[in-house]
């Protein structure tokens, strides 16, 4: 009999602490699968964020370092400059990358640092209890925007477009994991992004729209529907930039 579904080698056999319906688990698995497919587990160093994914080292069967909140791109720069032969990626939330860590991601992207970024955009600060993030939609209620987010709380930031506007990065895409078809596309995209780094092309960046049912006060099913209805129209999916131009969509 042919085995069609198993735990990736890059993943540990453990229970994740993510809330029911949270997309982090799916993204974590996609990353592990991509690493297995590219057969780079033994030369990979992951930079974990401060955020819901802080325990990434409990799930990924890889060398993993912690990083101060927002600074994974600086930490990854240090790792990659010291050891260009390693495969290095950061895994960051929207608070981490689009608020406190904006300077680090934009500067690293602008330098074209040759590491990969997996950016999980769930439009809230999940770990600290669902506060407003720079990606929170206008009108969205969070624990710190109890009357709905106003324009002067900050318009929702489109990070992928911003990163794609720079010359440094080799590959920039936005994906979602709200349907099986989108999960498949996201996985393909992450593999492509990782390959860019392996080819030494410079920073590759994949934003992934994620559901946070608990942070949004929705059921898991409703949260996935919100990704489709509210997020994707504002945060369009696709490959925004690729130095292999035929791959850009």
């Amino acid at each position: 009999m042919k085995l069609v579904f198993d735990r990736p080698k890059s993943m540990k056999d453990t229970v994740m602490h993510y809330c029911p319906g949270c997309s982090h688990g799916v993204v974590t698995r996609i990353v592990a699968e991509a690493i297995d497919i590219l057969d780079i587990r033994e030369k990979t160093v992951c930079v974990a964020p401060v955020g819901c994914a802080v325990f990434l080292y409990e799930y990924l069967n890889l060398d993993v370092t912690e990083s101060p909140h927002g600074r994974p791109p600086a930490v990854a720069t240090g790792i990659k400059r010291a050891r260009p032969d390693l495969f290095v990626f950061t895994y960051q939330g929207d608070g981490d990358i689009a608020a406190i860590g904006l300077a680090e991601i934009l500067s690293a992207a602008n330098r074209g640092e040759n590491f990969s970024v997996v950016y999980v955009n769930n439009t809230v600060y999940g770990m600290t209890g669902g506060q407003m993030a720079p990606t929170t939609m206008l009108g969205q209620r969070t624990t710190t925007t109890p009357y709905g987010k106003g324009a002067m709380d900050g318009r929702p930031l489109r990070m992928a477009e911003w990163i794609a506007s720079l010359d440094g990065p080799s590959y920039v895409a936005r994906m979602a994991v709200n349907t099986p078809a989108n999960v498949k596309k996201a996985r393909k995209t992450v593999i492509e992004a990782f390959r860019m780094q392996l080819e030494g092309r410079g920073m590759s960046f994949v934003e992934i729209l994620a559901a946070c049912p608990v942070g949004w006060g929705l059921s898991p099913i409703e949260a996935l529907a919100r990704v489709e209805k509210e997020l994707i129209p504002y945060y369009p999916l696709g490959v925004l930039k690729s130095v292999d131009s035929h791959k850009a969509g």
């Binding site: 802080v54 080292y57 069967n61 060398d63 600086a74 790792i79 010291a82 934009l106």
Partner: protein
């Protein structure tokens, strides 16, 4: 060669190949030297977007086991504190140079040593210590820069070199240690890709109270070892001293001239110059306090190290203080007068 350049050259000779920094006076000569030299000598110089990014790049390079450094001056050192605390918590080595300037705030760029508390008492959050080295000549700046990488790696702890612009900008002849190949020492903690071994994790997060307290206990034991083994200081004329001057770095350099003058004039004055500020030569002061009448502490601050001298003297000898602030530096004559006043008073 200037003190800043001497520290830079010594760092390269110590096997440091990675420098990350952000410009600020009065330490930019250190960065500029490395910007010229590191690319020629197989290293990487990177001007970061901020001091925060720079120290986190040091964190990253250190994660792989590489020797890395950053340098800055007071306001920039304040920005680095979060990551230094993470490094202490993660037990990562790394060398940080603070060419201290007048504060608080933007202050000025004149010589100061008012970052003693920040350097010695922790600086960032949580129960941790930096190992702090305080050179008082260009030669010593070079020697301590070389040493900093070894002890930082030995104890897996950040090491800070604290000096004023006087030491960084002063030009003196230097003899360098011979270059060393980046250590081939086994680093069973470094992240190098989990090839043929279990994955490794670098972290400071320990959610359970018991686990974090245990980790803190381990750190405290390490600091106790550092206190037992790494105290460095210089002494002069202590044998028959009735008054002992305590000063480090630039203050020590200036007051040492005043001590010589005092000795020439027959005053029984001695000098204790801490070279390591943490670990502090507490035991030396404690012993002296049993036989000398007085201590007098000279600092380029409102009085910071003086608190550690008071703790060490434990009320057994009087502790006096003279300090200049805001970038003002006393003359040796001024220090001499203060010594005489204290001696007679």
């Amino acid at each position: 060669m200037s003190g800043a350049e001497a520290m830079a050259e010594a760092a390269i000779r110590a096997g440091c190949r990675f420098y990350f920094g952000y410009p600020i006076t009065p330490q930019s000569e250190l960065a500029e030297y490395l910007a010229r030299e590191l690319p020629k000598r197989g290293g990487v110089f990177l001007q970061a977007e901020s001091e925060i990014a720079a120290i986190n790049m040091v964190f990253g390079a250190s994660v792989t086991g590489a020797r890395a450094m950053t340098s800055s001056s007071s306001p920039g050192i304040s920005l680095k504190q979060e990551a230094i605390s993470y490094m202490a918590g993660c037990e990562l080595p790394g060398v940080i140079v603070n060419v201290c300037r007048g504060g608080p705030g933007l202050g000025n760029i004149a010589p100061s040593e008012a970052d003693y508390f920040q350097a010695v008492k922790g600086g960032g959050h949580g129960d941790y210590r930096n190992i702090v080295l305080a050179p008082s000549s260009v030669q010593e700046a070079a020697d301590l820069s070389y040493l900093a990488f070894d002890i930082s790696e030995k104890y897996r702890n950040p090491v800070m070199i604290l000096c004023s612009a006087v030491i960084a900008q002063m030009v003196e002849p230097v003899e360098f240690m011979s270059p060393r190949r980046p250590e081939e020492v086994e680093k069973p903690w470094a992240l190098t890709g989990a090839k043929g071994r279990e994955p490794r994790v670098i972290k400071s997060l320990r959610l359970s109270e018991q686990e974090l307290e245990e980790h803190n206990r381990h750190l405290q034991e390490k600091y106790a070892t550092v206190k037992a083994k790494e105290v460095r200081y210089e002494t002069r004329y202590l044998e028959d001293a009735e008054l002992v001057i305590v000063a480090f770095g630039t203050s020590a350099r200036i007051v040492s001239t005043a001590v010589e003058t005092a000795r020439e004039k027959g005053y029984k004055v001695g000098l204790l110059r801490p070279i390591t500020l943490f670990p502090f030569p507490t035991h030396v002061i404690r012993k002296l306090a049993e036989r000398v009448k007085k201590f007098m502490v000279f600092e380029l601050s409102a009085g910071q190290m003086v608190e550690d001298v008071e703790i060490a003297a434990a009320g057994k000898a009087a502790v006096n203080f003279y300090g200049r602030m805001g970038g003002s530096v006393p003359s040796p004559e001024e220090d001499f007068e203060k010594i005489v006043d204290c001696y007679r008073g």
